[in-house]
């Protein structure tokens, strides 16, 4: 089985992805992009509880990297077009996860994305977001609808954790772009120092 990095958000979908990866016997490392102060402490608390539940179920430890993402969001807000903020945010998440994967000798990235759930998850946006990384991306939930994902989450005991109160991401623009082109996104990224931003956040990652 392969070694991979699973992106964890604290929502309903990512623990289901982690569960499916563990069930298949993959060796996984979790990565959380910590969005404070645009959220509160709740995503991190939920993820720690998700990991406790799944580690107990599979009787194994899942290492987790917490990568600061709030400073990246501030840079994006100050320097780039707000409407494409979700795609730019996702590109930095992918890049940070890929850096962790390289450090951990992992060969794939996995996420709980499903098509069309939120503005950032259109096919067009997924394509522009993931063009920022080279590792293969696994999306075990992409063909499932929300009810199917929630049913699995309930069965494995992560649903009640995911649906606890929290602050939703304050960095989401009022009208996020649902169709973006790579050229448009690269033009926005020309206004910022992508490598410097990534170096700064990955250097400050905490392993739990």
């Amino acid at each position: 089985m392969a070694r991979g990095v699973v992106l964890m958000s604290g929502g309903i979908d990512s623990p289901v992805t982690l569960y499916l990866m563990l069930r298949q016997g993959h060796d996984v490392v979790a990565v959380h992009l910590d969005n404070r102060p645009f959220t509160d402490d709740s995503p991190l608390e939920k993820i720690l509880d998700h990991l406790r539940v799944l580690e107990a179920r599979f009787d194994r430890k899942v290492p987790m990297y917490v990568v600061p993402h709030g400073p990246t969001q501030v840079t994006l807000m100050r320097n780039t077009d707000r409407h494409v903020g979700c795609v730019l945010c996702r590109r930095f998440m992918w890049r940070a996860a890929e850096r962790v994967a390289i450090r951990e000798n992992a060969t794939f990235l996995a996420t709980g994305e499903a098509l069309g759930q939120v503005a950032s998850q259109t096919l067009s946006n997924m394509r522009t977001a993931t063009a920022s990384v080279g590792l293969p991306i696994v999306r075990p939930l992409v063909g499932l609808d929300k009810q199917e994902i929630e049913a699995i989450a309930r069965e494995i005991g992560t649903y009640a954790i995911s649906t606890r109160p929290g602050v939703c991401c304050q960095a989401v623009p009022d009208r996020p772009a649902t169709r973006t082109s790579l050229l448009q996104i690269q033009r926005e990224e020309d206004r910022i120092d992508v490598e410097q931003i990534l170096d700064d956040c990955v250097r400050r990652a905490v392993v739990m």
Binding site: P37, V74, M77, R78, P165, V167, C168
Partner: protein, 91 residues
Amino acid sequence: MPYASLKVCSNRGALEAVPEPPTRLDLARVRTAFEAAGVSVLDCRVMLIARFEREVTVGQDGRLLIKTTDEREGRRVLERVEGLLEAARAR
């Protein structure tokens, strides 16, 4: 600036206040007023994140998100923010 209601946000983790009637804030002025009152501010250009007793996000449209679910505490913070927004407007 009048805030008619203070209600729990959709994710149930904070309180949200929306100005009535709709407004547009000059965030540079708001930041100056907050900092003059000793409140530290993270300026994100399109919003401010201010450290009152609880963290408060201030949008250009005047929307406030107060990171507490305790209504009494939220009202106390809102009162203070409203006063400073008035001061910012008067500058």
